[in-house]
């Protein structure tokens, strides 16, 4: 999807810093879907994810002048939202959440295939939420958001070997859980 025509991230950032507030809408449209997807997987709640992403985007706008490499805006935004998510998790009485009680999103008009897909998604979400937050984050950034280990490092501040280890551990735990569920 082409969001914002041919403008690069650096050009959009320059516009915003030049006083064009509306240009920040391009940033939102470009990265909101991934940020919401990421935050939902980390927090296990779409409402909490919306709060984290909204807070993160407002902070990003306020501090946009300090984004030293606008060409890497994407990982910079993930880092801000990741910190919002961590703050939320730290404030929770329990560190982990469960999607056990969350039914799959089903529309009455769905086809049988769509129903089966929704059921499978619910099982995968449940398996994902059994992982510790750091491993869940690593798996989501790598396999759901499609980041390279270098991008993951920029987005999390963690070293690449640490992230690789977390991804490996996440795959192992997830595979075991998926084989149990599916």
């Amino acid at each position: 999807m082409d969001v914002g025509g041919t403008l690069s991230d650096a050009e959009v950032v320059a516009r915003v810093l030049g006083g064009d507030r509306e240009a920040f809408g391009l940033v939102i449209r470009r990265y909101e879907p991934g940020l919401l997807r990421y935050a939902t997987r980390i927090l296990g709640s779409s409402d909490a994810a919306a709060d984290a992403v909204a807070e993160g985007l407002v902070r990003a706008y306020r501090h946009l002048a300090s984004c030293r490499d606008p060409g890497r805006l994407r990982t910079w935004l993930y880092r801000i939202v990741a910190n919002r998510c961590k703050s939320q998790l730290a404030r929770r009485p329990t560190a982990d959440v469960s999607l056990d009680d969350v039914p799959p999103i089903v529309d009455p008009g769905d086809t049988e295939a769509a129903l089966e897909r929704a059921e499978q998604l619910a099982l995968v979400e449940r398996a994902l939420m059994t992982l510790p937050p750091d491993k869940r984050e690593a798996f989501v950034l790598k396999h759901v958001e499609g980041m390279s280990y270098e991008e993951m490092s920029a987005a999390t501040g963690e070293r690449i070997p640490t992230l690789k280890m977390r991804v490996h551990r996440a795959r192992e735990a997830l595979l075991r859980a998926l084989k149990e569920y599916l």
Binding site: E32, A54, N83, R84, V124, H143, V144, L175, R176
Partner: protein, 202 residues
């Protein structure tokens, strides 16, 4: 936790071709990728765009309110202290002294202090201070080097409290104050210098 065959990791990391996996290992790799694809394609609920743009249109609260709120809000920060020699050097050379208001200067409020910045950047064309006190806008607080000895200085009245800051050299290079002594990792992964301004009335 049972480790899975390392070849699965290698294939998923693109280090070996998928064809190098046996049929059984390929099924496991496929299962993980199918799970990731389901998560990636899951429908999103709503958008925060309108909420964010509305928040951006609201003016920021006064700086003092933000400082007070920052001080009262719990923050997950990592505070790293430099070795003792560095702190001593910082104390000997540098800034952050609370100065009495010079005669003729505007009177300070009870909850304000003067922070003095001194930094050595030989050959720099310009040095500015950016921080939480000026919304990290380069250029708004410029330091001066009138005798061209590479030592840049400036003083600014700030609200009492903790302030994060950095130097911007030649308009583009962001540098933490090497002599600050206190550093805070911010939300964006940078290590900012930290200064504490005490109120002049203290």
């Amino acid at each position: 936790m049972n480790p899975i065959d390392p070849k699965i990791h290698q294939a998923l990391d693109g280090e070996i071709p998928r064809a190098a996996l046996s049929a059984e290992l390929r099924r496991d790799a496929d299962l993980l990728e199918r799970a990731a694809a389901l998560l990636a394609a899951a429908p999103q609920e709503g958008s925060v765009a309108a909420r964010v743009m509305a928040a951006l249109e609201r003016p920021l609260p006064p700086r003092r309110s933000r400082v007070v709120r920052w001080l009262l809000t719990p923050h997950a920060v990592v505070l790293r202290m430099r070795p003792v020699w560095s702190v001593a050097l910082a104390a000997g050379v540098l800034l952050l002294a609370i100065l009495p208001a010079p005669s003729g200067a505007p009177a300070l409020g009870d909850e304000e202090g003067v922070a003095q910045f001194v930094a050595r950047f030989p050959g720099a064309r310009s040095v500015a201070v950016v921080g939480s006190f000026n919304d990290w806008r380069p250029g708004s607080i410029a330091l001066e080097d009138p005798d061209h000895d590479g030592v840049w200085r400036g003083a600014v009245v700030l609200p009492a409290g903790a302030h994060e800051y950095m130097f911007v050299v030649d308009g583009e290079r962001w540098v933490a104050d090497p002599l600050a002594g206190r550093y805070v990792e911010d939300d964006f992964g940078r290590e900012n210098s930290l200064l504490i301004v005490r109120p002049v009335a203290e």
